[in-house]
Structures are given as structure tokens and as C-alpha cells.
Amino acid sequence: MSEPICLLEAVNLALARSLQDDPEVILFGEDIGHNGGVFRATDGLAHRFGAHRVVDTPLAETMIAGTAVGMATQGLRPVVEIQFMGFIFPAFEQLICHAARMRHRTRGRLSCPMVLRAPFGGGIHAPEHHSESTEALLAHIPGLRVVIPSSPARAYGLLLGAIHSDDPVIFLEPKRIYRASRTLVEDNGAALPIDRCFTLREGSDLTLIGFGAMIPECLDAAEQLAERGIDCEVIDVASLNPIDYDTLLASVAKTGRAVIVHEAPGKGGVGADISAVLGEQLWGQLRAPIIRVTGLDTVMPYYRNEMHYLPGVSDILDAVNKSLEAGRDEILQATGSG
């Protein structure tokens, strides 16, 4: 690939590569064939690989997920598209009671190698069920992998990793950054590991932890903080189940400070879990309370108030300042110079 591509095109590239390399891969979903998907993630694939590989389904998510379970346990690798994450709820029964438990329940005799892709998150001025982030509901489920890319290269590599995995994988695509940036992505068929964090920027003062569309915000904030002489480490969690705690713990043990950023509501969110584990494991090594920057504990607002709801760079900077001040107070108290 000689031209730089965006995250959405990287998804398309990984799907095309999988269809080409593996005859067991079948794309399956609403409006993905002739229409190429509502966001164009499957653009051109039905034409190139045929309607028997890129299959338009009825608008019926329970059946889409159920059919994918049957396909996956009988030798195929369905890659399902749920048009918006807000349409995923009818599929929960199959995802939670069947797909996620197949391996455990059959003692590994059966597995359910399916991928369910869904665009998620706010920032495109759509109503709430086209903008919400309900990843915590899925990341809570044992046996269900949840993977979220935050750049074109990671979208390509992580989607290949998801398709190669013998576990069911929920692959959530941050639609706000579908077309936000372009980079060169080599179409070499190389998968990225789907159980690792990605350290995007090394730093010693504080660890910024996020995923999806919050990663560009974290990187922007880190850039601004660097100008003030504050050196942030930025980690893309990327896999929400299971979470690569080795990387997170090593980073926060080093910096002593963590700010966790996601756009889903804070209550019961992935950030709450990460915060709890860091607190449990690093008690005594933390220099400040772990701070979460999240969406508000409410329904995703309609478009005029969307940016009020979504965390942004200034919210991250506020949290970082709070973290640094907490540390400074302690130091001042300890030295008796306050």
C-alpha cells in the first residue's frame, strides 16, 4: 500500500486480506454487501470476493449472532458487522450465553472463532444509540475478547489478530476517528497481539491510559504537557478483555501517577476496573490518587451537547494537574515546607 490510509480503510484492507488468505472467512451483516456498509468498511468487498463471501443479512441481530455461532462451531470464521453498537443488544443472548461460553462449557472441544465488529462511540453528531459506548457490558463477560483499535496500523493488525483468534472477539471501531488521520499501513498480513497494551509514548511523570477515540486526545494532552516539562507515558489499552495488566502495572509503578480516560460513563466502566487493580497492586507506590476522566453518568446526549459529554484534552489536562498537585502536597507536607 503506497498511499496513506485512514482507520476505516485499514479495516477494509484487513477484511480483504482475510477474505483472500482464508476461505473460511465469511463477512456477514446488514447492508455490508452491495452497499459496502453504512460507514463503507466493506466497500468493494462483495464485488471483489462475491456475494457468497460478503453476505447481506436481514435486519435481525439475534439471528445474525446466532447464525454466526453455528457457523463458527462448524468450521467457518464469520466476521459479523453490527451496524452500530446501539444495535448489539438483541445479539447479547447469543454472545454471552453461547459464543463466550463455548470453549469453557465444552472443555475446549469446541471453540467459537467469530468476530463481531461494531462502530462505537460519539463525536459524529448522531442520536444516542448511534453514539454510545457500552464496551464495559461486554468486557465484563469471561470468554469474550474485546478489542479496540486507535490508529490505522493497529486497526489493520488487531483486526487480523481478532480474525485469527479461536476465541469470539468483539472488535469495536471508534467511528469518530474512522477518517481522522492517515498513515502508511503495509498490507503484509501481519497480525498484532490482541492481549497486549501498546505504549505509544514513554514518560516518567504520569501514565495516561485510554483506548479508542480517546487516544488522539491523550496524545495531544501529552504533547501540551511536554511543553510544560511534564513527561507523560501514554498507553493504549487496546484489549479490554483480557487486560494486559503487566504493562499497565509496570508503567504506573514507574510513574506513580495514572489518569484513565474513556468516553463511556464512569460508573462500572473499564476505567473503574483498571483503577481498582492499579490501586490494589500498587498501594504504597502511588504518588497520587488514580483519576478517571470519563463520559458522564447519563444517556449519551443529542448532538448539540455531545462535546460537553465527551472527555477532551482540557479535561485530561485538568486531571493531570490534579494528580500532580496531589503529589506535590504530599511532598510539601513530608518536607514540612508548606
Binding site: I26, H52, T57, P58, A60, T62, M63, A65, G66, T67, A68, V69, G70, M71, A72, T73, Q74, G75, L76, P78, P90, E93, Q94, C97, H98, R103, H104, R105, T106, R107, G108, R109, L110, S111, P142, G143, R145, S165, D166, D167, D195, P242
Partner: protein, 328 residues
């Protein structure tokens, strides 16, 4: 389509096996659960949904299937599992929660999976239907032989998954047969109080596929209709919906007081028990003697007794095994 003598004897033997198996399970289930019924006690804790009375549905359909064909069953799966040829020792061990069970004692009686004969079941109603459609699609896409049969209860026919699955199977003409075991009761609610039509075969018309209602819990009639439907699916002509009138001789689950049943219903059902009826048919219509019958009964009892002994003798899984096989 009429069964041969051998097929009739096979059906009769599977019905006997299932019935005796459940009679044994029923007794063992009650071990430790008296004087006060406590579901958590005894060698088989948890819920227990018996299928006695519904054996004709299983044998009339599975007589036409091979190990390659796919079956998804329900929370009431024993009769279908036995007729599909699921390993009886390991199925019994699974019900006891033992390490040697088909799922290593992780699943219990509502989660019996035997990949060797392509059998699975789900404790959630109607939710085996989508996977059956997907399995049929998989065979179709890979040009492999085999049909899928989804068993469900009549209560499940009011689920969205029922309609979504029928529609897709019909649109794509998939080799799948939907078999509704109508035992008249959705737990405690009568079919007439939950379902807008008398027989679910009428719903086939909404999807442009053949629908059949089979009255009388009759294994020979089920063999006939199911055989036609399965042959049709094998010819690539698409799905069929079959509803079978059957009898739930037990409660919804063991411990069910069954206060919702009209007086005399159970006695009337037992009077129509399909197993003695089939025995009489064999004696009347086929070269079949009392001595042969006794030999068959002894054979099935020995097989079931051995399976139960195997389950009793097996070890429980270690607690730490619960953490295995969550992810690859």
C-alpha cells in the same frame, strides 16, 4: 415414509433407553433431597427437566440422521441426545458434574455437547435455532453434506429468535428442520394462553415453507413426516417447520408441584404413554416376541446402569479447573 422393522426396533429401543435413563436419574436426583426438597443437595444438584413422554419426537426425527447431521436441543434434552447417539457414559457423568463428563462437569444436564455426533443444547429457549441455521449455512457454504435439526418447545415459538431463524432459513433455502415439541405447557402456562394460534405449523406459511402438525405423539407418524422433511432438505429444497403433539409426563422441572394441571390430565397422558403402545404395535405388526422384548429391555437397562455406575465412579473436577478454557 414407513420405517422398516429394524428402524422400528431401533426407535423402540431408544425410547426405552431414554425412559429408563430418566427413571434412574429421577431416583438419583431425589437422593439427599428429602424430607425437605432442597435443589442444592444430592449427587445431582440443580434443576432437572425430564423428557419422559416426549421420546417419540426424538426417535422419529433422529432415525433419519447420521452423526454428520447437526442437532440443537433444548433445556429438556435427554431423549434427543440419546436418539442422536451421544456418548451415554459421558453424558451421564456430565449430568453428575463429573470430570469425565462431555464438558468435564462444567455444563450439567442442560449443556450437553458431543462434537462427535454434532449434538448440542441450550438452556435458553429458542436460542438453539440460530446456531442450527448457522450450522446448516456452514455445510451449505462448504459444500459438505448434512442437515441441521433444531428442536424447541412450543413456548419457544413465541420468541423473536424463532421468527428470525425461520425467515433466514427460508430466504436462503437452508437444509434445516425446525421441530416444535408441543407438550402443551410453557412451564406453567397453557399454550392457549400464550400462543395466538392453535398449532405452530401455521406459522410456516408466513415464511413460505412447508409446515406440518403431527397429532397423537406417534413415533411412526413423526418418522414419516420428518423423513420427508429431511429428504427435502438434503435435496436442497429448503427448511420445514414441524409441530408435534407430545406429552410431558413430568413437571416442568423436578420439584414442580404442577398445580396448574387440570385434574385427571396426567392420568390421561399416562394412559396414552407411547412406549407400551409401540411395544404392542411391534408385537401385533412385526416379527417380535415377548422374549425378544424382554431381551431388549434387559439390554437397555444394562447400558443405562453401566452409564450411571461410570458417572458415580468418576471424579469431580478440581476447583482450579474453573479458570481453564476461558480464553485460548
Amino acid at each position: 415414509m414407513k420405517p422398516s422393522r429394524d428402524q422400528k426396533i431401533w426407535m423402540y429401543e431408544q425410547m426405552h433407553t431414554s425412559r429408563y435413563f430418566e427413571e434412574c436419574i429421577e431416583k438419583i436426583y431425589m437422593e439427599g433431597k428429602s424430607p425437605a426438597f432442597n435443589m442444592a443437595k444430592g449427587p445431582i444438584p440443580g434443576e432437572m427437566h425430564l423428557s419422559n413422554g416426549q421420546e417419540p419426537c426424538a426417535v422419529g426425527v433422529c432415525a433419519h440422521l447420521s452423526a454428520d447431521d447437526i442437532v440443537t436441543s433444548t433445556h429438556r434434552p435427554h431423549h434427543v441426545a440419546i436418539a442422536k447417539g451421544v456418548d451415554l457414559n459421558r453424558m451421564t457423568a456430565e449430568i453428575f458434574g463429573k470430570k469425565t463428563g462431555l464438558s468435564g462437569g462444567r455444563g450439567g444436564h442442560m449443556h450437553i455437547f458431543d462434537a462427535k455426533v454434532n449434538f448440542s443444547c441450550s438452556g435458553i429457549i429458542a436460542q438453539g435455532m440460530g446456531p442450527a441455521v448457522g450450522a446448516a449455512l456452514s455445510r451449505h457454504m462448504q459444500n459438505k453434506p448434512g442437515v441441521a435439526v433444531a428442536f424447541l418447545g412450543e413456548g419457544a415459538a413465541n420468541q423473536g429468535a424463532f421468527h428470525e431463524s425461520l425467515n433466514l432459513a427460508a430466504v436462503w433455502k437452508l437444509p434445516v428442520i425446525f421441530v416444535v415439541e408441543d407438550n402443551a405447557w410453557g412451564i406453567s402456562v397453557a399454550k392457549s394462553a400464550s400462543t395466538a394460534i392453535e398449532h405452530n405449523d401455521a406459522r410456516a406459511a408466513a415464511y413460505g415453507i412447508p409446515g406440518h402438525f403431527i397429532p397423537g405423539n406417534d413415533p411412526l407418524a413423526i418418522f414419516d413426516i420428518a423423513g420427508e422433511a429431511i429428504e427435502r432438505a438434503r435435496r436442497g429444497e429448503g427448511p420445514t417447520l414441524i409441530e408435534i403433539e407430545t406429552y410431558r409426563l413430568a413437571g416442568h422441572f423436578m420439584g414442580d408441584a404442577e398445580g396448574y394441571r387440570p385434574k385427571g390430565e396426567k392420568e390421561a397422558l399416562f394412559a396414552r404413554d407411547p412406549i407400551p403402545k409401540m411395544r404392542q404395535q411391534l408385537l401385533d405388526d412385526e416379527d417380535w416376541s415377548d422374549a425378544q422384548d424382554q431381551e431388549l429391555v434387559a439390554r437397555t437397562h444394562a447400558r443405562v446402569d453401566a452409564a450411571i455406575q461410570f458417572a458415580r465412579d468418576s471424579e469431580y473436577p478440581a476447583p482450579e479447573e474453573a479458570m481453564e478454557k476461558v480464553f485460548v
